[in-house]
Symmetry: C2
Subunit: 398 residues, 2 copies
């Protein structure tokens, strides 16, 4: 493996499998549709693979993206450009057609995630240092608005759980100030910010329901979660699932589950229990827990297939070699897969016939059929983590 790692350079070569994909040397500015493209983040090397999920193969590698720990990505509305949010404050715009970096700015000292506005014209980045949110023109990456996040407690807070909402809004949480803010960027020159104070102790991450209505923040400092109904913001923040992090026998938490790992399927939401070998089932009409499904380890992501028929779950160490599939109707585990150590992320093809998985410790991306559970493809990638397909361009609340 060391040998393979050392061969990483242009031209793009997969020496590990003996397959030389020199034709994919990142220069191929091809005229083609972009609806079936995506990227795989290679965290350790600061690179991404551009992939094609029709052909189930990588097309080329883009290097020079900085520290991609916990990196995430959103897409331009034409599904051509990805905006990649690195941990080092880097915001990189890449072109998946030419497979080149279009522009890269280091916009903060330490950042965690971002979002793109409903109309696609603004990209917002959430910062740990110096805190706050910065908003950029998605075309040029010029700074459009700087939104510091100083709470009523006077602390300039780091921001987390940044997502887009309908109406050119961004919603985010202030970890150090215990607040949730909604910034309306309809007029970027004078953003209007609505603030919810007393939003719970240390919101550390959040998610938006897929219709852009319910914003839910996880709390590090207390049990339970905070919910804002964007259709009824006057109702303020509501505390839900008070027993979320509790349990008779608390286990050490190997990895705080990502809230983006929630799955919403019909009336039910599925979420990883904190520190327990369980997936919680919640009725999203009243946000009350209706069941717990025992699983193989501490779940990290519980992801719903696009048709809501099955939930795919991966796990924290020492169980991160395993993926389990839950049947939504029976709430039973119907399949256990062993892709190998370091299953970090999964992404479904847009209509759900396949699921892609990053298997970090094997330096592989694997592809499974969601009906037969057969492995139908795989290819090498260097310590792959997040997988993001261009169909995300058309989704709300990412």
């Amino acid at each position: 493996m060391l040998k393979w790692m050392s061969t990483l350079s242009r031209p793009f070569a997969f020496a590990a499998t003996g397959v030389l994909l020199a034709a994919c040397a990142g220069t191929g500015a091809e005229m083609r549709g972009t609806g079936d493209l995506g990227i795989v983040v290679e965290r350790a090397t600061g690179s991404v693979l551009v992939v094609d999920h029709s052909e189930q193969k990588p097309l080329g590698r883009i290097e020079g993206l900085g520290d991609l720990s916990h990196a995430s990505a959103v897409y331009s509305r034409d599904a051509r450009y990805a905006y990649i949010f690195g941990r080092d404050g880097g915001l990189t715009k890449i072109d998946v057609l030419t497979r080149k970096i279009v522009k890269r700015v280091v916009q903060g000292g330490n950042s965690i995630g971002g979002a793109i506005s409903q109309d696609g014209k603004l990209v917002a980045v959430s910062n740990y240092k110096p805190g706050g949110v910065k908003v950029f023109n998605s075309q040029t990456l010029d700074l459009v608005a700087n939104l510091p996040a100083t709470g009523v407690n006077g602390v300039a807070s780091k921001t987390v759980g940044l997502v887009d909402a309908p109406g050119q809004r961004f919603v985010y949480s202030l970890y150090d100030a215990n607040e949730i803010w909604i910034a309306d960027l309809t007029n970027p020159a004078s953003p209007r910010v609505q603030k919810f104070t007393d939003a719970g102790d240390k919101p550390y991450d959040a998610l938006m329901s897929d219709d852009g209505r319910h914003y839910i923040a996880g709390l590090f400092g207390e049990d339970g979660l905070s919910l804002v109904d964007l259709w009824n913001p006057d109702k303020g923040v509501r505390r839900i699932l008070g027993g979320y992090g509790r349990g008779e026998k608390q286990l050490p938490v190997y990895k705080m589950p990502h809230l983006e790992g929630w799955a919403i399927a019909g009336d039910l939401a599925f979420l990883p229990a904190i520190g327990h070998h369980e997936v919680l089932v919640v009725d999203r009409r009243d946000w009350k827990e209706v069941g717990r499904i025992p699983v193989h380890g501490q779940p990290v992501f519980a992801m719903a297939q696009p048709d809501g028929r099955q939930i795919w779950v991966n796990f924290a160490l020492p169980h991160n070699d395993t993926v389990q599939v839950i049947d939504v109707q029976s709430l039973k585990i119907i399949k256990t897969l062993k892709p190998g150590k370091g299953v970090l992320h999964m992404e479904f093809t847009p209509r759900g016939e396949k699921v892609w998985m990053s298997v970090r410790d094997r330096d592989l991306v694997q592809i499974y059929d969601t009906i037969t559970y057969e492995k139908v493809g795989e290819f090498p990638a260097i310590k792959p983590s997040g997988i993001f397909f261009t169909s995300r361009a058309h989704k709300i609340g990412l």
Copy 2:
């Protein structure tokens, strides 16, 4: 207007507005993303406009598509090719990048709609004459499977309400045989067909819920609708909404509403009442009617914004100059627009910030902001009808 009509020829010219878009003469094979493209059907002239919903403008015209009455379209998984189903049995594959016809086959004598398989490899077309369903290779348009539709009553039936479902399945209704069939094309050489007989009198159209679970057929010969739960096909066909077409005072029906015009927003479904100036509200958990909203005329389409926040309704003659907007939370009409005579179809941008409308009798496509309801753009089109954006490539059940 007559003058303008007579100028219809290449080079593509919009003489009506004095704007000559000669640069868009249909030759422009441009390298670009395809996530923000779409087509507008020009029914009377057998042509389509390729449009860009970021720039809010047409890019060029493709001619020679035959009879496009009631034409609909689906997209390849790369969002580059549209498959257009014409009334004359024509299946035309067009390339929205080069703006050319790739291939055209006349596959039946008289057809009505089609669908693309979950993996994007198969395109199915529903036929009136000679009946049945034909399935084509989406790459080549070669015939892959011919599925006649002869019911237990011995009649070779025309098929309607054809949609895709997860698992390489197509679902359709047999108008002349009162049946609903599910064809599994996992192995196209030997399709497996599951048949529901006694599926109601003359199913004339159908829709699939957006998760691909519930298939609902409208019935011409009796009141109510037929529902198949694809997660539980063993439960057979269930009759719902027995009073759907009834009412104290039946009005003449100017246009049978399309079932594709149903809107599903959260727990509620909104559907056009038949022959009444009402939109029905149905609880999708038990498929029972929970309310009726009085509207301006006989509704044709009731379409949910992508965020489920509002329902946009257009109407049959003599009220087809009007569009009304229903607020989903209050179930009240909050806006009435008058785009002009012949509002035939609406399409939302993928994340819902804008809605496009065909205003046939004014030869215009108009674009409205879904928050301010302001008209934010318009351009000429020749008797425009259906509008279909490439983001449909990623949806289930179309």
